[in-house]
Symmetry: C2
């Protein structure tokens, strides 16, 4: 980092250790009524986003959770319950709980089912925001299983040919165990770009490419201000001529598996993440939905063979011929592991706005900072 950039960085950022952030998060969740175990679980999901560099899904979300809880939209001591099941499959009612708490409980059940039946699949209704999808998928790794997690989310993406937000960023995550390499973790939103990237471009006064967003009329726009005036994100594929119908189909896949299959809300009815937006009338389901799963590798191949093949797969992709020798070929999830290694040493940078937000939150909830 050159000197000028570094100064800029120091002026706006403060560094925290993972443990410091986790402690704050645990205390906030306890102040909201969580028991100790649930608070630690939720904090672990949250801080795993910060350490992996997915800042939009880390402690910066805490004040949002508190607002939703204050508005009575989150139950901080949910009694999750299996309401239907058939050996390898089950549906869980999240009792209005926070997804950060509900989803790991569901994933543990999926893992137990996979031990008995080879695979385990849970559809979860009546839940809320569950943090990064990758965390839940990665819970399968120590069991030599492939993990999978999806969730639907606040609608912010119109289908191809529509100007109405019908789908959220609906992420898909898969985690694959390896032998000596880092696990291969796929964790992608089915939008073409994260909202946060557009906001950063705005802050840095940079132009965004055509295809990242549409205006309120559904037309592609590069005017970032229109994002706050009814604008929306685009599905993966970005423009119709570049395949946005495929991103729309992937977002639909997630919405159906998480929302329709579980009995949660779907489409335009998925509850918004902010308390100042009302719920739509005629809700077709309860809360928002997740879909999680685990598959035991031994049911397909000896796990040691599979993991050795994964290492080989990764090595072959890492050594694929480069366009430009100076630009490395990354495998899915690799950048997040590199970020984790870096931040475990240097600490996690939070920008001043997030720090002020957290300080205010702690003050309000009588938590020592």
């Amino acid at each position: 980092m050159d000197a000028e950039k570094k100064m800029h960085f120091c002026a706006e950022m403060q560094l925290f250790t993972k443990d410091q952030l986790k402690k704050i998060a645990v205390n906030v969740f306890i102040a909201m009524g969580c028991d100790q175990l649930d608070a630690e679980m939720a904090a672990d999901v949250l801080v795993s986003a910060d350490i992996r560099g997915i800042d939009s899904h880390g402690v910066s979300r805490l004040s949002g959770y508190v607002s939703l809880w204050e508005a009575g939209r989150i139950n901080m001591s949910p009694k999750v319950e299996i309401i239907r099941e058939h050996k390898s499959t089950f549906t869980l009612d999240g009792d209005g709980g926070l997804g950060l708490i509900v989803a790991p409980k569901a994933m543990n059940i999926a893992i137990e089912r996979a031990k008995i039946y080879g695979s385990g699949w849970g559809a979860i209704s009546n839940s809320n925001h569950f943090g990064i999808a990758g965390y839940h998928a990665m819970m399968a790794l120590p069991h030599d299983m492939i993990g999978m997690a999806m969730t639907n989310a606040t609608p912010f993406i119109p289908p191809t040919h529509s100007k109405q937000a019908m789908l959220g960023t609906n992420p898909i995550a898969y985690a694959f165990p390896t032998l000596k390499q880092k696990p291969l973790v796929i964790d992608l939103a089915t939008a073409s770009v994260a909202r946060g990237k557009i906001e950063i471009a705005k802050r840095e006064n940079k132009e965004i490419p055509l295809g990242w967003m549409v205006d309120k009329h559904g037309n592609p726009s590069q005017n970032i201000d229109e994002l706050l005036d009814g604008g929306m994100l685009t599905p993966l594929g970005s423009l119709e001529e570049l395949g946005s119908h495929k991103g729309y189909a992937l977002g639909s896949l997630v919405d159906i598996l998480t929302g329709v299959l579980s009995g949660a809300n779907y489409g335009k009815w998925v509850p918004p993440f902010v308390p100042f937006l009302p719920l739509l009338p005629d809700l077709p389901g309860k809360g928002l939905g997740h879909f999680l799963g685990a598959m035991e590798i031994e049911g397909f191949r000896p796990a040691a063979d599979f993991k050795a093949s994964m290492d080989h797969w990764i090595q072959s992709f890492k050594s694929a011929e480069r366009i430009d020798e100076s630009q490395e070929v990354f495998v899915p999830g690799e950048k997040e592991f590199l970020m984790e290694e870096e931040r475990m040493i240097t600490g996690i940078p939070l920008n001043d706005k997030v720090v002020q937000d957290l300080e205010m939150l702690c003050k309000k909830m009588a938590i020592s900072w």
Copy 2:
């Protein structure tokens, strides 16, 4: 259709009924050594592509299958065998058979497992091209199950930052049953566009958008001729700034579930579809791979409730506000069902080149035309 276009159409196309094409395909497969049942199954998969308007995966592929068979790369009377299993999961060795035959057999096993264990998942190695992924996923529908199918394919897509073809168009298909609406069928290649679309643009002398392809150096190109000179397709997302790393991750997901998990080849080693290209040395597995699955809806929700919710989901997306009143919002798979309805009445148009190809094939194999 205006008069000029119609003349153009008539000059280049001949119309066939589904039964006519199926009969030709059955006879070709029998001439290659298939038994009657397998030949009818394979022909059904193939012709379902033609009737649904996915012309690139229909009878136009027959001569390609024959060439591969002549080169000794396909076993037309495979003895498929479960080589490993754990209740809801299994691995099947396709015995070098054609995917059109191997995949439906595997899907039937997955459906049987789903009846017993709630879900069934098969990884298939040692197979070949399996036609349209959607066909296999849709086999689950009459059982009130959600069907899923993926396959890896001839490498033709470089990872982000690479200029080497490491992934095929690796499709993902899911089929969801409905009550009164047509089933919702997602079937998408993880490339930004089909190669066929670029070839049509070439034939019609039309410009293609930036993002559809790259040249042999891995750089985005709009010069279609470069596709035949080492050029490649792009992953869904098309350009790096528009999210091509997500399409790369989705293609990787398919490659790992179909290739690594089953013990088939993966990455650059996936066998090419044409016999004149040699197999790479040091193959890590056998043939190409599929991954198929079925989930019984009753294990999650009463099937009637789920299907009614699917109808509601479809209706809500169909009635999403339009950008332009004249442009309908389609749900995934809808266009293929509309095409099927149309072609059941009008017939299936094949262009002259495909017809000549089929005629030559029939002559060579002593099949009556």
